[in-house]
């Protein structure tokens, strides 16, 4: 769990066409990018950062089949065991008539479950306090944050970022919490990924 006070070197880019080579160069130079904050989903950026694919959809599938089984077992139990009702002489186990509700609950469980999982994984909640690296990260800037370790030479890293095309570079100290996430942890090092 991330926590405590941390130092970041933050570089802001104005164009995604500059951002992509910059990401590559920063990673090539051996730095670990903590995260890149963008105003909209930039396609391919997750791959450029070496992030693995999300498995959120798998969670969605598991919630869906939970919904299906809940609906079917519940209706079966009610109409065959708990209180069988004779409706127009039709069978107690009236599977075709239960399909609509089974389907609706499948969708409901999947959607609600996925959204809650999404909020949990992305640390989204109404009253959370986070450190925002740049107010324009939700407007028109692509903001790259690199976490400093004891070994990082900040000024060298800042100059390096400027050379890659960052318009604005600074060092920020942030009080972090569980919300920070550690997406850099599943980021492979550039050389491991490309095998050079």
């Amino acid at each position: 769990m991330a926590g405590g006070i941390k130092k970041f070197v933050v570089g802001s880019f104005e164009d995604e066409a500059v951002l992509f080579p910059a990401v590559k160069n920063v990673r090539k130079a051996g730095y670990k990018i903590h995260d890149v904050y963008t105003p909209f989903p930039v396609h391919g950026l997750d791959h450029a950062l070496g992030l693995r694919e999300t498995s959120l959809h798998t969670a969605g599938f598991i919630y869906a089949i939970t919904g299906t089984t809940t609906a079917l077992t519940f209706m079966t139990w009610v109409f065959t065991k708990d209180w069988p009702l004779n409706i127009g002489g039709k069978p107690y186990f009236a599977l075709p008539a239960w399909i609509p509700i089974t389907f609706e609950l499948t969708v409901l469980f999947s959607a609600v479950g996925m959204v809650l999982t999404f909020c949990y994984l992305c640390q989204l909640s109404p009253f959370i306090k986070k450190h925002h690296f740049h107010p324009r990260a939700t407007d028109d800037l692509f903001v790259m944050a690199i976490e400093c370790t004891d070994k990082t030479n900040d000024s060298e890293l800042q100059q390096f970022l400027e050379r890659t095309g960052a318009k604005e570079v600074n060092v920020q100290v942030a009080e972090t919490g569980w919300w920070l996430g550690r997406y850099d942890r599943d980021q492979k090092l550039y050389r491991d990924e490309k095998g050079y």
Binding site: Y37, M75, I101
Partner: protein, 483 residues
């Protein structure tokens, strides 16, 4: 690497004008930060007055009973269920735009999806009122839920289409709300980060759930949107299918027909798109968003209207043909006498429906008329009226003449409280919509930004040279080499 994606010049730009990312934010978020216009206040107050009238109508109905409505023997469903089906149908366009068009990768949905989804949610809220208050003893409304109770427990009837409706509508509302709100999070964060006052910062901070725009979050967000779209697509089809089951699984002549599910779904999309047009033509004008909701968008939606209108027309004729061909005298009587005969008490409503839904949308085969705002606005109203009458025709003309002529109803016309309830839902709908337009980004800002460099007018213009050069190069390399 100056451009990450390429879109042909032949495609009309989806965003007009000279825009960059910041300009997009400015254009769409600005109206939220300004004081609302006079027009907004006038519209909002009218809506609230309508809503209050609706509340009073409902108060009368709850206090004095269903007798406050002119429902009578054999006409157990009148305006209330007509309105219910009408509002649910309107909701469908929002989901179609946000989900089905996402799966079909239609770029133009980005300009209209947010407002259309909001429309869905408000329309479903309005729709839900009718079956709930129609219960009469509304304080027992929770009886429709399968919960363990002290009456046995006596469970609900899972074999009944009316119960399927409970599940369908509530699931539809929940999923639409989640889909809409998860899409709103990044845009609310944009509003939060631009906020000047403390209160705005606090409120939008709460509303945006602490969204940062992290790459990993976006990756998950994309996955979430895609799966929710995949879930909403069959869901939206199932909802109106199940609504049609309310009628189709009964044995009332005029209702007992297998064509209802597809016919209802097409009609729902048809009426929903008409309502989207009505709303967006006003919104784009009042909020100055013509660059984002372009004539091209209106054109695209009119194409959907002419398509679904024609499907509906086809369904009407099929239904009529089968009523005759099926040789069921009761079914044929409903069609021949209660509907198609213009001199029968409700014959006029059948022909009004035919004219509004089948004949008039054919105008939209003409590109010129599709791209004419005044015509589109007028047509959208006509279609909304026509689709209301479709439900009225289906419900009232099927039940006002029973199997037994002695129990044929006298002429049914609604009471002021029945009409008031309907007007009240308009009040509810527009009150919500006005508040939405004031406090939320009516266009998906992040989504517009993601298509800006491929579909923005200024970016497309820059592509001209590259495109020409490419095709010439291609011709030299591929075609001339071959010879």
């Amino acid at each position: 690497m100056s451009l990450l994606k390429y879109e042909s010049q032949l495609r009309e730009p989806l965003v007009d004008g000279n825009k960059d990312y910041h300009q997009v934010t400015e254009d769409i978020i600005k109206p939220i930060e300004m004081k609302p216009s006079r027009l907004w206040y006038i519209g909002f107050y009218i809506s609230v007055v309508l809503l209050l009238f609706g509340v009073y109508s409902v108060y009368r109905e709850v206090t004095y009973g269903i007798g406050q409505w002119n429902l009578n023997k054999t006409i157990g469903w009148g305006w209330d269920i007509t309105n219910f089906v009408w509002w649910v149908g309107i909701g469908h366009a929002g989901t179609l735009i946000s989900a089905i068009l996402l799966l079909f990768r239609q770029g133009w949905r980005t300009g209209v999806n947010r407002a259309a989804e909001a429309m869905t949610i408000f329309a479903v809220m309005c729709a839900g009122q009718f079956p709930i208050w129609h219960m009469g003893r509304v304080w027992m409304a929770f009886f429709v839920l399968p919960y363990p109770n002290s009456r046995g427990p006596l469970w609900v009837n899972f074999n009944s289409p009316l119960l399927w409706d409970v599940f369908a509508i509530s699931t539809y509302f929940t999923v639409s709300l989640l889909f809409w709100y998860s899409g709103l999070l990044p845009d609310l964060a944009t509003v939060r980060d631009r906020a000047k006052t403390k209160l705005r910062k606090l409120l939008y901070g709460i509303a945006s759930f602490g969204w940062t725009g992290s790459t990993k979050h976006w990756q998950r967000h994309e996955s979430l949107s895609l799966v929710l779209a995949g879930l909403s697509t069959p869901l939206v089809l199932s909802v109106h299918t199940i609504v049609s089951f309310d009628f189709a699984t009964s044995v009332i002549p005029g209702w007992h027909t297998t064509i209802f599910p597809p016919y209802f779904v097409a009609g729902a999309i048809f009426s929903g798109f008409a309502m989207v047009q009505t709303l967006l033509i006003v919104v784009r004008k009042v909020m100055g968003l013509q660059d984002y909701i372009t004539i091209g968008h209106i054109d695209a939606m009119n194409k959907v209207i002419v398509l679904t209108g024609s499907i509906v027309g086809c369904a009407y004729l099929t239904e009529l043909f089968i009523a005759w061909y099926g040789q069921n005298p009761y079914e044929w009587y409903v069609f021949k006498e209660n509907r198609a005969n213009p001199f029968s008490p409700y014959g006029w409503s059948y022909w009004l429906m035919m004219f509004c839904n089948v004949v008039s949308p054919q105008l939209f085969w003409s590109r010129k008329l599709r791209r004419n705002i005044a015509v589109t606005f007028f047509m959208s109203i006509i279609v909304n009226i026509g689709m209301w009458y479709e439900r009225f025709v289906i419900i009232v003309t099927s039940v006002y003449r029973d199997f037994l002529p002695s129990s044929w109803s006298t002429y049914y016309s609604p009471t002021i409280w029945e009409i008031g309830f309907y007007l009240g839902t308009f009040g509810l709908f527009f009150t919500c919509f006005f508040l939405f337009a004031k406090y939320f980004p009516v266009i998906a800002v992040a989504e517009i930004k993601s298509i800006l460099k491929t579909s923005g007018e200024n970016y497309k213009r820059k592509m001209t040279d590259i495109e020409k050069a490419d095709s010439e190069k291609f011709y030299h390399e591929e075609v001339e080499h071959a010879h």
